[in-house]
Amino acid sequence: MSLVNFTTREITCKIVYYGPGRSGKTSNLQYIYGQVPDERRGRMVSLATQTDRTLFFDFLPLDLGSISGFTTRFQLYTVPGQVYYNATRKLVLQGADGVVFVADSQMRQLDENIESLQNLHANVLEHGIDIRTLPMVLQYNKQDLPRELILAPPELDEALNFRALPAYAADALHGPGVFETLKAVSAEVLRRLSESGPGRH
């Protein structure tokens, strides 16, 4: 996966939305899809089951046009959240430039969040990547739910964000926090450019 190619002057970023089932990964992509002007967005590919669960993965290509002379494309992916689709998750993670971990803020989903996060770590490691070097942000989704059902961001931080990553409260169905998350992960990914410098193909 090429992040930046100075010869063809292209920047391609692959960002993967990761998280437990029903945490709102596809909702993130759908919201973004809805905001992108027609000429900028590719066809969103969603392989869903009859009950609207992601069976394989979602894929949303974004063409950001020419930025500083570079043709810039973002590819947003989601992984299937369910535990038994790990092979697919591993496959989608391959070559990811950045990861958004979408956590379900509901109290009762805390264990699933933790399990999914551990699964992410394990899969990234299997690709031979040190998770600490992979640009990543957290999103605490469903913060619009009644207070008594959810954990507040500080509590979720306590449980999930031991690396003090950038974390964003969000309501992916309606939009708040979605672009903030995307902006943050994009910035983290692109900042890697300045660290690795040109020549990375």
């Binding site: 010869t7 973004i32 930025i67 913060q143 708040p176 995307l182 692109l190 410098g197 040109p198 020549g199």
Partner: protein, 659 residues
């Protein structure tokens, strides 16, 4: 950047806190480069540094309108400089900045971030001072407190005048408030501005902000503002400000930031996202440009050509910048090493441009190689004169042993070895034999072996050509130094000086020194005692005249060398003849050979005897010679053998003498 007409001395409110700075600035403006150069004004943000800087510019122009005044913030300077470097116009830019009569440079504290510009600024300040051009700088702290600032630059900046701007006191604050209100054409009730002045502000900028707020408030109020109202307003604003700053930052970095989502997102989120990405990409792309730009400035500062790096900035397709930079640095290192090598061979070549261009490493390498090859090595020992061809015997056994030891362990046994002996006894042969043996010793690559006469002549030629240093290095590169006929340096002061220094250099480096002379060190005439004592400090050995056994060997060798078959009688006869040196033996053999019948390859004793002792007296000549010799003189002189019968022509003798 243009000067701001609002920032003049007339609009600068002077109080005790800034009087010194204002006075200094006025003095500089009245007579640039005469009083304080450079002038450095430092103080916290918002106290009027930039105002003073502009004011200096204006006032200087008022005094002398033809002056070239330039105002730049450090960031602008850095940016322009990098751009100039990137476009290959660095020198032109340097010139354009350096030629300003008054250069006003703002915010030099950012030099902390631009270390590569420090040497450039140092150069600029030196150049401007030398050309009597004024430099005025501002900083938010004293130069010594600017992180990682070059010590030389600190000294340079502190060499002019360093003045600080302190926060304004009550009176100054009030004066500033009044002036600002007046500028805005607003009148306040008495006591309002006093109240504001009492509340105070950290700096002038904040103070102006306060007065602006009051003006705005009064403009929309029906009743004029009262002192109490002003206080209430400002305190309230202060509370509001405090509340604002307590809000979580927009870009959440960690826990506290992740607040509950706001009600509705702004409409065009995608555009906002796009511009954020654009910003980040631009910064990231600029990051490597910056890196290359910094490298360009740094290496240019050190005097290297950076065309290769500059090409990188203009190129479309990019290789790995880190790799390019590494390769460039490796080439610079190679150039440094080559320049040092060239300098040791010929100091005049080290500064050549080829050692300053990493794109010309191969050329530089070739040049140094040529220099190495082209450098005439000092005279070396004659290959024919070896220990093997040297005739040893009881008479020179001790000397020979010492010589072999020296050759075996150069610099460690006898250093120097001083060989004395009469002319013709074989000193020169022995010296060259030691030299040849030294060449085979481990770690010895070059051996200098020459006569003192050649040494003197070389020095004279070097003095004439002005390359004495090169000549010295030429010898110092040798691993051993052997000098024949040392007695000839008597009275040659500069030669003795050079020899003394050379001696010390060799002795310090444990390199072998061997000298030969026709007399002992003590008897050397007109030679400085410091040299004599050094000669004596090693081992002084004396080569004696060859004894009969040695002479016999010599005769045999000489005859063999000529391919002459001689009877043993002939050899014994020749060896028995008195001869006090190897050269004398050679003479005897040559005379014997002259008697040889070309038809007969062998030599008979009778013919030899006749050749050496003569065919019998030729009466007339014998008589004539006898008449010349006073009676009572050693009878050996009357021997035919001792008499020269055939004198050369007088003309030939003269030519011989003149030589």
């Amino acid at each position: 950047m243009d000067l701001n007409p609002r920032f003049k001395f007339e609009t600068f409110v002077v109080g005790p806190s800034n009087r010194l700075a204002a006075t200094a600035a006025q003095a500089v403006a009245a007579a640039p480069a005469v009083t304080y150069n450079p002038l450095v004004i430092y103080g916290r943000s918002g106290l009027g540094k930039t105002h003073l800087l502009h004011a200096v510019g204006f006032a200087a122009l008022e005094h002398e309108p033809q002056l070239r005044v330039a105002y730049l913030t450090l960031e602008e300077y850095v940016e322009q400089y990098h751009a100039a470097v990137a476009s290959g116009q660095a020198d032109a830019y340097r010139r354009s900045v350096g030629e300003s009569d008054v250069l006003l440079l703002d915010d030099i504290q950012f030099l902390e971030k631009h270390r590569e510009l420090q040497s450039e600024l140092l150069r600029l300040s030196e150049e401007m001072q030398a050309a009597n051009r004024q430099l005025v700088l501002t900083s938010d702290r004293p130069p010594a407190e600017i992180g990682e600032l070059d010590e030389r630059l600190i000294t340079r900046l502190s060499g002019g005048l360093l003045v600080d701007l302190a926060p304004p006191d009550y009176e100054t604050r009030l004066a500033i408030l009044r002036r600002k209100a007046e500028e805005r054409g607003t009148a306040f009730q008495s006591g309002v501005l006093e109240t504001v002045a009492e509340i105070g502000a950290a700096n002038v900028r904040e103070l102006v902000g306060l007065v602006n707020r009051l003006i705005a408030f009064q403009a929309v109020s029906e009743a004029p503002l009262t002192p109490a109202g002003a206080r209430a307003l400002l305190v309230e604003e202060g509370v509001a400000l405090a509340a604002e700053s307590a809000l979580p930052p927009q870009a959440p970095a960690a826990p506290a930031a992740a607040a509950a989502p706001a009600a509705a997102p702004p409409p065009d989120e995608f555009s906002a996202f796009l511009s954020a990405v654009t910003r980040t990409v631009a910064q990231s792309i600029d990051a490597w440009r910056h890196k290359v730009g910094e490298a360009v400035v740094r290496w240019q500062g050190e005097g290297y050509r950076t065309a290769r790096l500059e090409a990188l900035l203009g190129g479309e397709a990019l290789p790995d910048v880190d790799e390019v930079l590494q390769r460039y640095e490796a080439d610079v290192e190679a150039l440094r090493a080559l320049a040092a090598e060239a300098g040791s061979l010929d100091p005049s070549t080290a500064g050549h441009a080829r050692f300053r261009d990493p794109d010309r490493v191969d050329e530089a390498r070739g040049f140094v190689q040529k220099l190495q090859e082209g450098m005439v090595p000092p005279p070396t020992p004659l290959p024919a004169l070896t220990f093997e061809s040297y005739v040893g015997g009881a008479a020179n056994d001790a000397v020979l042993r010492a010589a072999r030891l020296v050759a075996h362990e150069p610099g460690r046994r006898y250093n120097p070895l001083f060989i004395e002996g009469a002319s013709g006894v074989g000193k020169t042969h022995l010296l060259h034999a030691i030299g040849n043996a030294l060449l085979e010793a481990p770690g010895v690559k070059a051996v200098s072996c020459l006569s003192a006469q050649a040494f003197i002549e070389e020095l004279l030629a070097a003095i004439e050509a002005g390359n004495v240093e090169w000549w010295r290095r030429r010898y110092r590169r040798s691993d051993a130094f052997l000098l024949d006929d040392v007695q000839l340096i008597g009275g040659k002061e500069q030669t003795q000086d050079e020899l003394f220094n050379l001696f010390n250099a060799f002795a310090d480096g444990e390199k072998q020194l061997v000298f030969a002379a026709d007399r002992s060190p003590q008897l050397l005439e007109d030679v400085e005692p410091r040299l004599v004592s050094r000669f004596e400090g090693g081992l002084v050995v004396e080569l004696a005249a060859p004894d009969r056994a040695m002479r016999e060997i010599m005769v045999r060798r000489l005859l063999d060398a000529q391919g002459v078959q001689a009877d043993d009688d002939v050899v014994q006869y020749l060896a028995a003849r008195p001869a006090d040196s190897a050269r004398a033996v050679q003479g005897l053999v040559n005379r014997a050979l002259s008697a040889m019948d070309p038809e007969q390859p062998s030599l008979g004793v009778q013919a030899v005897r006749t050749a050496i002792e003569g065919r019998g007296a030729r009466p007339s000549q014998a008589h004539a010679i006898s008449a010349l010799i006073p009676s009572g003189i050693d009878s050996s002189l009357q021997s035919r053998e001792k008499v020269v019968w055939d004198w050369p022509d007088v003309g030939d003798r003269l030519v011989e003498d003149l030589r």
